[in-house]
Each structure stands twice: as C-alpha cells, then as structure tokens.
Amino acid sequence: MTRLDLEGVGFVYPDGTRALDGVDLTIGAGESVAIVGQNGSGKSTLVRHFNGLLRPTDGRILHDGEDVADVRTAALAARVGIVFQNPDRQIFAGKVRTEVAFGPKTLGRSATDIEAATRDALAAVGLSDAADANPYDLGYSRRKLLTIASVLAMGTPVVVLDEPTTGQDARGVARVQQVLAGLVADGRTVIAISHDMRFVAGSFSRIVVMGGGRILLDGPPAEVFAEPAWPVLASSYLEPPYAARVGARLALGSTPTETALVEALAARG
C-alpha cells in the first residue's frame, strides 16, 4: 500500500514555464481520484511527479511518509504505474505480449510470474485474443487498452491513467470503467486524468480540479459539481455533468450522476 503526499510542490520546466505552484495533496491507499482541469493546467506534470519522472523544483513528495527525492524512478515504478495519454508514444515492442511483459520483466519478476501477469493483464482489458498480434495492427482504442495492460501487469499499488477515455469508442470506455472498478475493488489506488465530466462523476469518489498549476477544488463529486462550485469550474473551462445541471435546475440539490438524479427525483416523488 502506498500513500502519496505532496507538500508545497512547485515545478518549473527548463524553459521557464511554471507548471505547478504550491500543490498540497494527499492521496490515501485505495482511493479513486480523478484529476480534471483545462489543457495546460498542470495535470500531466503533476502525475509525472508521483514516480519521479519529474522532480519538484520546490516542496517534496512522500511515499508512505518517506521523502522519495533520492529514490530512483526505476524503484518508484514498482509502486506507481503510469499510463500516458498517447499510445503511439509508448508502445515499442513488435508484439502485444512483449509490450505487456516489459514492465514485470524490468521489475525483475520470475518467468512464471511474468507470464501469469501478462496473461491476466491482457484478459483484464479484453486483449487475450491479440497476444501475438503486432500492436500497430490494432485499432486506436485497443492500442490504448494495450498501454493500460502494460501497466496493470506490473501490479503496482498505485495506478495512474492520463486521459484513459480520450479517443476511445463506447466499448473502450466501458472496458476502462470495468478495469478501474476492478482495481478499486482490489484495494489499489486509482488516479485518472480526464476531460469527461460524466465519466469522472460516475467512476471516482474524489475529484481534484486544477487550474494554473494549482488545486482549485478537491472533494467528492457531489461537492465539486454542486452549484456553488460552478464558477470555479468555469474558471478552468469545465462544465458540470449534464445530470448535475438538470438536478440544479429542478432544485434537487447536487446530483452529479444520472443515478443520483433519478434517486433524487424518486425521493421527491
């Protein structure tokens, strides 16, 4: 289990762009957290700090209370797996199976473990039938699922996904939701960046809203998508999900998901 703590984290890119500014954030083991915010608000930069791909220029990062400034990325990778946004900038192997086995292999697992992990990860994303295919013969949606499997196979206690639903067809989105639910049920920490407010409201118990390298809002969907928070969302060019807007219009309180909306309607009778 790994708890992540960020204390006053700031990050400036070498070209002088300030991407993060005084970020304080604690993510407990087993939480499911969505990070939202307009393009350029620092979401991707933030998650690259979780496994040391980027090191903060201010503040510090702790795993289970221990500062990881001196721990190599290669070691942190065993705790935090990150799936990046663009599958075509990650996949490098000529075979689906090899791509998925890469993580457990570099982590030094045994041959039988690697095989089992690869098989399970492929099954979890529904790619078992494609194990011997060339990744570039798969469609975009399945390539994206492949990158997710490649990280699942590592069995990290924390799984981070950068825009897992962007560019996915409806089946792909449903598959991603199923994978996330499985991880949460397993007690693993799931952190996802997304622009899809409906997906976010339905699949995560906590939402962090970013803007200009800072955290603007942080709370459960019912709080973040409640009407009083809308001006803050608007400042980061976000719209509350449709169900939340309908619920507010009908004065039903905060109804971030369709389920919540239906329940509120039923309760009113």
């Binding site: 690259r48 496994n51 791909l53 190599r72 990325t73 290669a74 990778a77 065993a78 797996g81 990150i82 990046f84 663009n86 075509d88 900038r89 990650q90 996949i91 490098f92 192997a93 890469f102 993580g103 570099t106 982590l107 990158t147 490649s150 990280v151 590592m154």
Partner: protein, 251 residues
C-alpha cells in the same frame, strides 16, 4: 515560426538550404579545429540574428550529446597513441585520442547547428514550393520536406517512449552503461515510427493537393534576390575549393 519572421527567416529557402549544406559538408571536409569552429560561430551568429539562438543551442546539444559522449569515450580510450595522459583500468587515454575526439566533437556540433538552423527558420511548405518551382519532381520535394518535418516529432517520440519505459521500471539513471542500455530498446521503434511518420506526412501533403499537376498559386511571395543567387554560388565554390584543397593536401 515566430509571428514576425526575421530577415533570415525571409531568405529564399534554397539559400538557407545551401547555407546548411555548405556548413555541414564544409565542417566535415575541413576537419581540424579552425574550420568547424568558424562554421559554428557563423551559424550561432545567424541564429542570433534570426532570434532562435537559445532554441538552436539547446536542440543541437540534445541531438548531439548522446553521439558525442559515445564518440569521446570510444576515441579517447581506443585510439592508439604514444602520449598517455591517464589510465582508467586497462584503458589508456592518449593525447591522440583526446585530439581526435575534440575534432569529431566540433564537427558534430557544426553539422547539427547548420541543419538545425535551416529547420528552425524554414517553413517546409515554402521549401516544397521553391523546389518545385525550380523543376524538382514533386515527389522528391515531398519526401525532402516530410523528412524535415519529421525531425521534431522524432525527438518527441524518443522522449516519450523512454519516459514510458522508465515508468515501467527501466533504469536509465546511474552509470553511462545503464544509460546506453536504456536507449537501445527505443532505437527501433523511433526509427520505424518516424518512417511511418514520413509516409503519413507525404500522404498528408499529397492529399493537400501538392502533387496535382499544373500551376498553382503561391500563397505568398517567394523572394529570390539577385544577391542570394550570387551568395549561393559563392558558397558552393568555397565548398568545392575547400574539398579540392583538402584532397590535394593543401590544408
């Protein structure tokens, strides 16, 4: 491309291409120190005039460094020579090795600065139009341009793949050997990826009707002043002169 391109940006694309070619082949032909360093200084001055100095220096360092490091290590320690400067394990670092490594370095930098300056200051489409106008077959012009356009993507792709591998536990921090080992798995996909890129880009250029026969409008004026033509010939003659002088052992 900046909003208000500098006079250097506005040169005819062929002139900038000739400057890049003469700079890089010149650095190679001249060898030694004076020639390549002079070329480096000229390119840096031009880049400064064009307002891309910092960017060019950074990109050229990034592109050259991995090759430079391996060249230095290999040549410093494996070049036979009589003057041993120091030893590491069983390897002798010889003065001859160091000299060779430094000469290779200045050449590498002169070449990457020359090519980088061209890429940073030239709109690929302008280059295609200009080549076509000069009678270069459109297909050849595409491939040239698609290749140039692919360079920045190639760098980005390499960075991202290596990032994703580090996120999956590949150790690229630490010793030089670890770093090199970390680079190996990305060489293949990056090259294949950029070949696909070049193909896609030439298809994209084509679908934007670049290959349609017949005359097209030039979307903007393509200057080619008389002095630019003269400059190109002068540079070309200088290059040939340098090559001849080099071959006949005069320099």
């Amino acid at each position: 491309m900046p909003v208000t391109p500098s006079p250097y940006h506005r040169l005819n694309p062929l002139t900038k291409a000739v400057i890049a070619t003469v700079g890089s082949i010149g650095a190679f032909v001249l060898g030694g120190y004076v020639g390549p360093i002079a070329i480096m200084v000229i390119m840096l001055l031009l880049a400064w005039r064009a307002g891309v100095l910092a960017r060019l220096a950074r990109v050229s360092l990034l592109l050259t460094l991995p090759i430079a490091i391996s060249v230095v290590l290999v040549s410093v320690f494996t070049r036979a020579g009589t003057t041993v400067l120091f030893q590491i394990g069983p390897f002798d670092a010889t003065a001859e090795g160091v000299d060779f490594a430094l000469q290779t370095l200045v050449r590498l930098f002169a070449i990457s600065l020359s090519i980088g300056l061209f890429i940073m200051t030239t709109e690929p489409r302008a280059f295609v139009f200009d080549l076509e106008r000069r009678g270069v077959p459109p297909r050849a012009a595409f491939i040239a341009v698609a290749t140039i356009e692919a360079v920045p993507t190639l760098v980005e792709r390499a960075t991202m793949i290596s990032e994703s591998q580090r996120a999956r536990g590949l150790d690229t921090e630490g010793s030089f050997l670890t770093r090199v080992r970390g680079l190996l798995p990305i060489v293949g996909p990056v090259i294949i990826g950029s070949l696909t890129d070049v193909e896609e880009r030439s298809l994209a250029l084509e679908s934007r009707a670049f290959s349609r026969p017949g005359r097209r409008h030039l979307l903007w004026a393509m200057p080619d002043e008389g002095w630019e033509r003269v400059l190109r010939w002068v540079l070309f003659v200088l290059l040939v002169g340098a090559a001849v002088a080099r071959l006949t052992g005069r320099i």
